[in-house]
Subunit: 347 residues, 2 copies
DNA sequence: CTGTTAGCGCGTTCAT
DNA sequence: ATGAACGCGCTAACAG
């Protein structure tokens, strides 16, 4: 029923091994033979059996990409960039490597489960995107998993999260702390002193680092850090909306709102508009990430641009061995402050 | 080095077959035996070999998802929804099915290539999202590929594109034509008569259907369809921006712009703003899709909401056999007109 | 440059 | 309910 390598070999009058060599292009094969084999492949409509190939070679052409939520452009952009670099040399059988995208939803259990499934698939590499959960037990379990993956020959690249020492994983880390600091410095420079902060979920590195940067900026200028002005919530629009209403209730005197990311910032803007608060006239708003829609917000959103595309692409290249690993296995990627219309002088 | 089924069997004092049965849970196994096996699995940190399993079983737990661009929320939302329904019964070895996301970039060659790669992986199912290219040769090639996939036991679901007769593929189709028609009717009802249209790429079904709806609405009211007011371009912001500037140049008297989708509409809004044209005071703008950011545009974008999430989820369930196929293998999904602030009475 | 041989690790008969 | 044996389709030595 299904045509196999042997069928092709028979038709091309060669041995199965030769067909395999032609398909994988790793060994020298006479041009005439190659031609004959390729013709047979074509005539029989032969398609290589991936699982059989992976079994025999003890490695597959699958690359895992772990994301919190692929519907979120933050992850979509990185995942797309990783995927775009997966092709080219090193892939088996003239084909390209394929991306297995795993939505963890931020759940540690799912993160581990997916890593196990990828290990089961004998994935060639795994790219883990986005911030990490700070829970020590989970970090220990994750570290063990990463070590086992490495031992099984799977390259692991962390993209946008802190390094994990002794796991063999390469880390491309975003300087969330520095970005957060520059953002708040910008606001303070505009005269803001009551700066509210809508942070992400409490237990994530991204949340903590951005918040630390914010606080560092406040401290540097001796501006008091009022705990009542910091709210935590998920990285979504609603969180920004609700938190902003709450902040307005707590302290009508705030003159600026810094959001965990651009999506949250958009929610904050919506809440301010609904309350008739002008931006940036009465309250300035800032985000983080610089997602594509942020420049089209009205007013355009001041934010910290993260090079998601290039970072993802680099992670992809490292994953497939097309780029060298950074020195020490760690590279820090800077964000760039983008000053736009949503921030202005304090009222 | 790497631990296999046989190792587990030895440690649990059973045969490899029994271990396999426990892991797959398909055959009755004594509770005590099962317990012993699971303990051995745990102690040895055993991870099933996916390729070997897939080879022996002649099917894998991989589900392919073809998208134009995973970084685009339109596709990200659908892909995420598909993926969220992949788990549950039917998957092998207690694990979940995994999603292989393939970015075609809208290229027909890549579409075919990825389908071949998925066939090679013996994918359990394939979901193809987004509009189709109308090129007859490509459609023929695609049809052949889909037929071969079906023959190989891979279920194929089309999500957001027209049916492909005689391929065995289930189609969940968006009513782009109806949506486009209602949108333009809405504009005409507001008194607009010079309605510009920024369409997507020429050779795509989505583009054509939305445009046909637009023209049907014009025709129904006897409004002339001026070819100079229709421009084609990619589905991105820049296309909307550039096209709007060009349209303004061609006819400063236009009072409304309909865009191929929300992203294009955002670009159109930006161009109008840059030219000092008020929305909707001087020119109304409408989009299509109702992506998450559209409600936060200023003014909020009038658009046609497509239930991307639920459509993707349904496609996923059908793909894994958790939902029945629709009658005749075809279901049409309606869009909903969302009237918001970006459209108003004609100047 | 090409053919021969021997597994890769598991699922699945067929027995018991 | 469990075990033994075979083969899935391919790659990787090893010869030649």
């Amino acid at each position: 029923m299904t045509v196999t390598l042997a069928d092709v070999a028979e038709r091309a009058q060669v041995s199965p091994a030769t067909v395999s060599r032609v398909l994988n292009g790793n060994y020298p094969v006479a041009a005439a033979t190659r031609e004959r084999v390729l013709r047979a492949v074509d005539e029989l409509d032969y398609v290589l059996n991936g699982p059989a190939s992976a079994l025999a070679a003890a490695t597959s052409d699958l690359v895992g990409i772990l994301v919190n939520d692929i519907a979120d452009p933050f992850f979509g952009i990185m995942a797309g960039a990783v995927q775009s670099e997966l092709g080219g040399p090193g892939a088996r059988a003239g084909g390209e490597r394929m991306a297995v995208v795993c939505n963890t939803g931020g759940s540690p259990e799912r993160e581990l489960t997916y890593l196990t499934l990828l290990q089961r698939q004998r994935a060639a590499a795994v790219v883990i995107t986005g911030g990490a959960l700070e829970n020590p037990e989970h970090l220990a379990a994750l570290g063990g998993k990463l070590r086992r993956l490495r031992d099984a020959g799977t390259r692991v690249v962390l993209c946008g999260r802190p390094p994990m020492p002794d796991t063999g994983a390469v880390a491309l880390t975003f300087d969330n702390r520095g970005g957060g600091q520059r953002l708040t410095e910008h606001l303070l420079g505009l005269g803001h002193r009551r700066v509210a902060y809508i942070a992400g979920p409490e237990d994530r590195t991204t949340t903590r680092h951005r918040l630390e940067g914010h606080r560092a900026a406040l401290a540097a200028l001796g501006v008091p850090d009022d705990p009542a002005l910091v709210l935590h919530g998920p990285y979504d629009r609603r969180s920004g909306y609700d938190a902003t209403l709450e902040l307005l209730r707590r302290d009508p005197g705030i003159t600026a709102v810094v959001a965990a990311n651009d999506t949250v910032a958009l929610g904050a803007c919506a809440a301010l508009r609904d309350r008739g608060v002008t931006i940036p006239g009465a309250v300035s708003v800032a985000g983080f990430d610089d997602l594509p829609f942020s420049v089209d917000a009205v007013p355009a959103l001041t934010t910290v641009r993260l090079p998601l595309q290039s970072a993802g692409a680099r992670a992809g290249r490292i994953a497939v061995g097309r780029d060298p690993e950074p020195p020490g296995g760690i590279a820090t990627i800077q964000g760039e402050l983008m000053v736009r219309g949503s921030t202005g002088a304090a009222a």
